[in-house]
Amino acid sequence: MGALQVIHLSKHFGGLKAIHSLSFNVEEGSVHALIGPNGAGKTTVLNCISRFYKADEGEILVHGKNILHWRDYEIFRAAVGRTFQNLEVFGDLTVFDNVLTARYRFMHASVIENMFRLPRARREERVNKQKVEEILILLGLDGVAHQRCGGLPYGQQRLVELARAMALEPRVLLLDEPAAGHNNEEVGQLGELINRIRHMLRASILLVEHNMSLVMAISDRITVMHNGQFLAEGSPREIETNPKVIEAYLGRGYNPISAGA
């Protein structure tokens, strides 16, 4: 049983079939990449999993539980985290506050307790602020912790989004094009970071990505989508050399870069 199972997922918008009967399985503790040309439906898949869209058909299981009837925020309370393609950080808040906001689900003091700063509320604030510090140090953001997020360079804002997703202590992490906006060197660091996160949180990761060097470097398995449908699945090596994938997406001029090439 995998960490995340997508079974015969279908979603259409009006007459347009965005996803058609897609299935794949993210093994526990692995990095599973979802790749394909633009418009293949990859982000739609993420949105269905996060329940921002209602899937029309199929099942989605997170650690064996069917989440198709859950509210979106309930999913994120159950230790799923995600980042977005279009940055959705809180620009007017500091980096620290952005990440601290994500600790909401770990705090249980009521409104009244918080209004009068009763002991439980104070303790929870202290403990969670500590946690945020740790995460920021891990991602190298502690230097800009108290700066306004909107004023930071794009790449750093993406890191803040990652930090926020991590603050949820997710067991399943959905990453939507995390490499966008990073140069080659940064992408390398990002790959290492993702691996470290994976080990720290013992998380399983679903990675939607266009940057092939990142995909090939860290993925355990890859599913390829085309026109909303399943095209191929396999190890990085298998996908790189799959003629259908090369035809539809990678292109004839593509040079295989995965291990064993």
């Binding site: 949105n47 921002f52 869209y53």
Partner: protein, 287 residues
């Protein structure tokens, strides 16, 4: 009962007309004009002034329409232009501010007393078999019907109308096609104010003209707009008619207190069950 239904329809078309103005502005500029009722009020008072000068009815109507166009243009240039694209809280509050200002302006110019307003139609009932109808009952229906038809033709077949429709549907595309979008906004406000003026001319004979007379009607108009779909022009009219008929029937068969609460209840009901109204399309947010 037929009597009630027909007068309900008459009333409903008037609500629909006011709602039409609101929807027109919302579709064109994304702004929900809470001050629309007050704009109706001001144009109607202007009409009263023209009437008091002794002008014949047709001159009053033309004069008022001209005033309405200019008034709409004035508001658009001074306020609305800056508001396009601003967050909802801002636009709503500016409109509410306008609501306050227009109220005081009206009192300053025309005072606080209620006034009678002449009707375009005679009150004498004509018998049509079982039912007694007066031109005053049917008149509004005919006027609104013609207006609705006129607007439909305008948006469909005239060059300006098509351009306006295009701007409403897709601002960016319209701009790229060389349509002067800002001028379209101005035109839609002018049109909406003129529609408002006509609504006022139809309403004022029924209730006394008074600086607060539009406040409850605005409530009905919003309910009609929401019922029909805040982005649908025909929806506004249909919503109004449904609201008019239902309200009248409820007033007869249940209680008149419930009748007062109808717009509110219908609004809540629709917003909970189908927020986009009867005629609008469902919109899913894209992330």
């Amino acid at each position: 009962m037929t009597q009630m239904i027909i007068s309900g329809i008459a009333l409903g078309t008037i609500y629909g007309l006011v709602a039409l103005g609101i929807v027109l502005v919302h579709k064109a500029t994304g702004i929900l004009n809470f001050a629309h009722g007050e704009m109706v009020m001001v144009t109607t008072f202007f009409a009263l002034t023209l009437h008091n000068f002794g002008l014949p009815y047709w001159a009053v109507v033309t004069g008022t329409l001209a005033f309405a166009a200019l008034f709409g243009l004035f508001i658009e240039t001074t306020l609305v232009r800056r508001l396009i694209g601003a967050p909802l809280l801002t636009t709503a509050l500016v409109c509410l501010g306008l609501f306050l200002i227009l109220g005081d302006v009206a009192v300053w110019i025309w005072g606080k007393d209620p006034h009678m307003f002449p009707s375009a139609f005679s009150e004498k009932p004509i018998s049509l078999g079982q039912v007694f109808l007066s031109p005053a009952d049917i008149g509004p229906i005919i006027v609104c019907g013609m207006l609705a038809l006129g607007l439909y033709l305008f948006f469909r077949f005239t060059k300006i109308g098509v351009a306006m429709q295009a701007t409403i549907d897709n601002q960016t595309a319209a701009r790229l096609m060389g349509i002067p979008v800002k001028r379209m906004f101005a035109l839609s406000w002018m049109l909406a104010t003129m529609v408002a003026a006509i609504a006022g001319l139809l309403i004022a004979p029924i209730i006394f003209l008074h600086f607060t007379f539009m406040q409850t009607i605005l409530h009905f108009a919003f309910a009609a707009a929401v019922l029909g779909g805040i982005n649908s022009l025909p929806g506004a009219m249909i919503g109004g008619i449904i609201l008019g008929v239902v309200t009248n029937l409820v007033g007869i068969y249940f209680s008149s207190a419930l009748k007062e609460a109808m717009p509110f209840l219908i609004m809540l009901g629709i917003l909970v069950v189908r927020p986009e109204g009867l005629m609008s399309k469902r919109i899913e947010k894209k992330v």
